[in-house]
Symmetry: C2
Amino acid sequence: MNTISRIPPAVTETRMANALRFLAMDAVEAANSGHPGMPMGMADVATVLFTRFLNIDPGAPEWPDRDRFVLSAGHGSMLLYGLHHLLGYSDMPADELRRFRQLGARTAGHPEYGHALGIETTTGPLGQGIATAVGMALAERMLNARFGDPLVDHWTYVIAGDGCLMEGISQEAIDLAGHLRLGRMIVLWDDNKITIDGATSLSTSTDQPARFNASGWHTVSIDGHDPEAIAAAIDAARADPRPSLIACRTVIGQGAPTKAGSHNVHGAPLGADEIKAAREALDWPHEPFEVPDDIRAAWGAAAGRGARARAAWEGRIGASGRDAEFHAAHSAPDLGDGMAAHKTMLAETRPSMATRKASEAAIEVLAAALPNLAGGSADLTGSNNTRAKSMRPVTADDYSGDYIHYGIREHGMAAAMNGIALHGGLVPYGGTFLAFADYCRPAIRLSALMGKPVIYVMTHDSIGLGEDGPTHQPVETIASLRAMPNLNVFRPADAIETAEAWECALAEPRTPSVLCLSRQNLPTLDRAVTENLTARGAYLLCDPGNRDVTIIATGSEVEVALKAAVQLAADGIAAAVVSAPCFERFASQPPAYRAEVLGTAPRIGVEAAVSQGWAALLGNHSIFVGMTGFGASAPAADLYRHFGITPERVAAAARSLIA
Amino acid sequence: MNTISRIPPAVTETRMANALRFLAMDAVEAANSGHPGMPMGMADVATVLFTRFLNIDPGAPEWPDRDRFVLSAGHGSMLLYGLHHLLGYSDMPADELRRFRQLGARTAGHPEYGHALGIETTTGPLGQGIATAVGMALAERMLNARFGDPLVDHWTYVIAGDGCLMEGISQEAIDLAGHLRLGRMIVLWDDNKITIDGATSLSTSTDQPARFNASGWHTVSIDGHDPEAIAAAIDAARADPRPSLIACRTVIGQGAPTKAGSHNVHGAPLGADEIKAAREALDWPHEPFEVPDDIRAAWGAAAGRGARARAAWEGRIGASGRDAEFHAAHSAPDLGDGMAAHKTMLAETRPSMATRKASEAAIEVLAAALPNLAGGSADLTGSNNTRAKSMRPVTADDYSGDYIHYGIREHGMAAAMNGIALHGGLVPYGGTFLAFADYCRPAIRLSALMGKPVIYVMTHDSIGLGEDGPTHQPVETIASLRAMPNLNVFRPADAIETAEAWECALAEPRTPSVLCLSRQNLPTLDRAVTENLTARGAYLLCDPGNRDVTIIATGSEVEVALKAAVQLAADGIAAAVVSAPCFERFASQPPAYRAEVLGTAPRIGVEAAVSQGWAALLGNHSIFVGMTGFGASAPAADLYRHFGITPERVAAAARSLIA
């Protein structure tokens, strides 16, 4: 591009970027709400990225080999909506921009996955985008190792702000990305030196490029308003085998005559006067939401480049002979017959085993059936029992493995799993201790909000873990997870329910699952395996017919309930026992089934956790036997006695209810 | 020290360290559970630190000017218990070591604050220790700025493992510590190249010293088994104005003849044979838990140094003339009369204001009464309304301020607040959006587990925040916090309840509080302010006498409930309205009071959140009006209508119940 041409070309990248700026100003003004500063500051970077590099096809937003773009600084959503509008996404006409942040509009306050075409992931909670992108970039390399360059060969670009880099999750993300040498991940950092409270110097002194260098990243610093510098930096990033950070020095709100460069432009409308002055200063004599034809055409040309790339890919996959295999990897998992045989074996042999071990046995069966399983653990492989014998680690030198050593990074793991699931082609699961669900809760919430069926294997699920004590004993964790919308929380009672929970989790198209698994051994229940009863959420495990009391329990406490029922039977009291491995599933059963399971007799609930959430299963005439506070450090059996979660206590509660 | 002496001195630091090694081996063996690898690997470092540098007095474990020691790698708890035993803490006789990890023992699996003398903070969840220590080191400087070197002049030492440094929270901690130039914080990193899964090279490639350098830390790398190198490094760290990382290259399980250096020694007993071989190899011909007299005497001498330092400090404070002021800062906050006058003003003027703004008004009153208030926000000062006008920022150049710009680091903020509260002398509170409670939940859990009255100011507490959408709208967050033991969750309905909630939070000696505050304006309720009714947890706001229905609501939905009651009254239906700002407080009220408030009529619960946890207030004959899934992006009023949280809906529910 000849930058010293005496007659400037009608279309420049700066004018294309100004289109983004005015769409952001106008939409925030119309909504009287939103964040104009970031879209205006990063408009030049986004223009160069989208027009010169990014391969996406607005006509086929889910084309598997597209480049991924993640707006980690999700509050700048108008940047993304403006781009999609200009590129011609069918669901992003000007009217949607006019309805920015209004009920039912596609233009939600933050980019919401599934809410509009081409949104790769939900962002807004800071740091999630960059950490999710690590999963996308990792999935790309893992699938590349399986299918080769002709079918899988794309880039993952991230725009991140200061907030994304200050959040701790970013360290987990960059350490993992650097370690796995994810060279196709490029982070464009909006280095504008401004946060909500004011200058970044109020709260940070970190030399970000030096920090990224320390974790094995390539870094470069540029003027984020210079198109050629931006392009050169992206070229250099693509040429480097390491993941790249491009520090883009920008002015927040660039283009706002008086407010640019101030934190006041971060999250509030500019006001009519400032926008009017901007129109004059930038020579933009167009109505709000109006884009001149030459600019629109230039953006359309950029979209055309992606469409041609997709067409070429369609040709390649058609000729590859691996079309069916590729699409199978991107479709719902097919478990085959292995799990049915496995469950039959369990019902016949009835082993005594921890459900974490039962989960390992289930994973062995699944790994044989699912070549695209992507396992892992946050450094608790031997405790979470997450690795099938056949699994090989994924390394920087060999992405063909199927087991990811996520390190001691629960949050980074969960976000990476979101990224893997969003990318498609692989089925991610990962392990940690249930108590540390808290460490990754913001990413679990995004799994649920986005409706991605990520599987969380969370072992050591109660005081039953024993000596490690209250910091490691989940007491409120199960309730806190059950509180979350669109999350299935499974707490299987034995090896069969564990296998069933895995079947359920893998069959879910749009709901993530948490498997809460015991450290301690549990007996295999005496029941038929013809139906997946865990899928029902709760079922009658032991039905004496005309019952006097119903004991409902989950996980390791089902054994306690069964023993209590035996004690009650000795007194002539007929106790039904209900195993309730998944409250969410049970809530969705037909009323008649629920009534049949719950019965009309008084009820006892038993779970080594707080009672919150049990009201859904217990009626007025009921007693809950569980925990009322934090646990303690001692052998598990001592703790169960100490906290009174015993058959004797349950039986006494039953007697008191029916007295 | 002459290391080539032909006749080795009877007592060497290596032998003192070996005492720690055998106590750890023996205790883990006796418990058949625990982590010997870290205590054995870091025994030399701990010995040098405790004998040559650390000023603590086992006879006065809470002496305010003591050095703080944080075992961030809390699984190595036997290192701490061994140290306390050898230093002569009165509650740590050999019998306690023999009862390691048993019910009722002081020697819990992980160090539990308050469970044994001298434990500065609960650790085990990785990364919390180092981040908590930042708060301690910051508190030291802030109090030094107030009271001067003679009264406040101590160090904060941390032993951290690879896990602590891989957790994202560590980045938030080191960025904050480097920015605030907390030169009195020294982290001794157990650089043993081993994690649970195996070599650290499985999951990380970060150059940790380079990473710390990037955030403004002084760093040095040493042989962690060389006492003189350790001492020289600590000397250098103390001489440097920056916070310091000392990378101590160690062998995990040092002293175990065949298992040292392997991840197998991390978290399992060594076994009798290996321990026997270690006794031979290290020339330690003593019974389990036996410490030879010369070694015990040498450790006793180290304790004596701390006792003398304390005595000198007692002399200084006695002579300072600031004894009373110093002790007042370390005692329960005295709010004076300002808050009573403030509440009276509110009851008279009845402003319409967001509870976040009401909280700001309360903070203004508190800041005038409490010179040791330490405010802050995770970069949302103007949104959380957490800063009183008088407050000045704490900076690296001036620690006399009282407002901390924590940056976009919710987790680091919460952990730092734990550290400030544990340190004593200051009253910490900090703000973020309620949805981002998830980002700091592991640290909130430690506030609750340790019983430290940290105050979390969490604004934008429902769909009432409007356009930012579901990522920012807490729907399950309130329930997830109510699930946590020993945490008071306040959701005030107006400015008066907000002031009362602040009074409650500050009066709690051993319970942290979360204040859930609205973004949107709310009317001030028409009620007397003679009693703090929020302290009751719930109260009758509107009592028609012979009630037909009781409507219970919290926060912004109390207004909805009151309007519904008016609509019902027009139909001749007598609706009582209960405001329930704190479920936990209400649960602790006498049964008669609870019965009076709840009444016997059918009940409606109203809260713009999921219903989990409401069973405690609602009986069998009840309806809950709230949320059943995630929110959406739109103006708040549209969302309330969309999700049906309206007076009309509440009134209709009431009619259906009493029909």
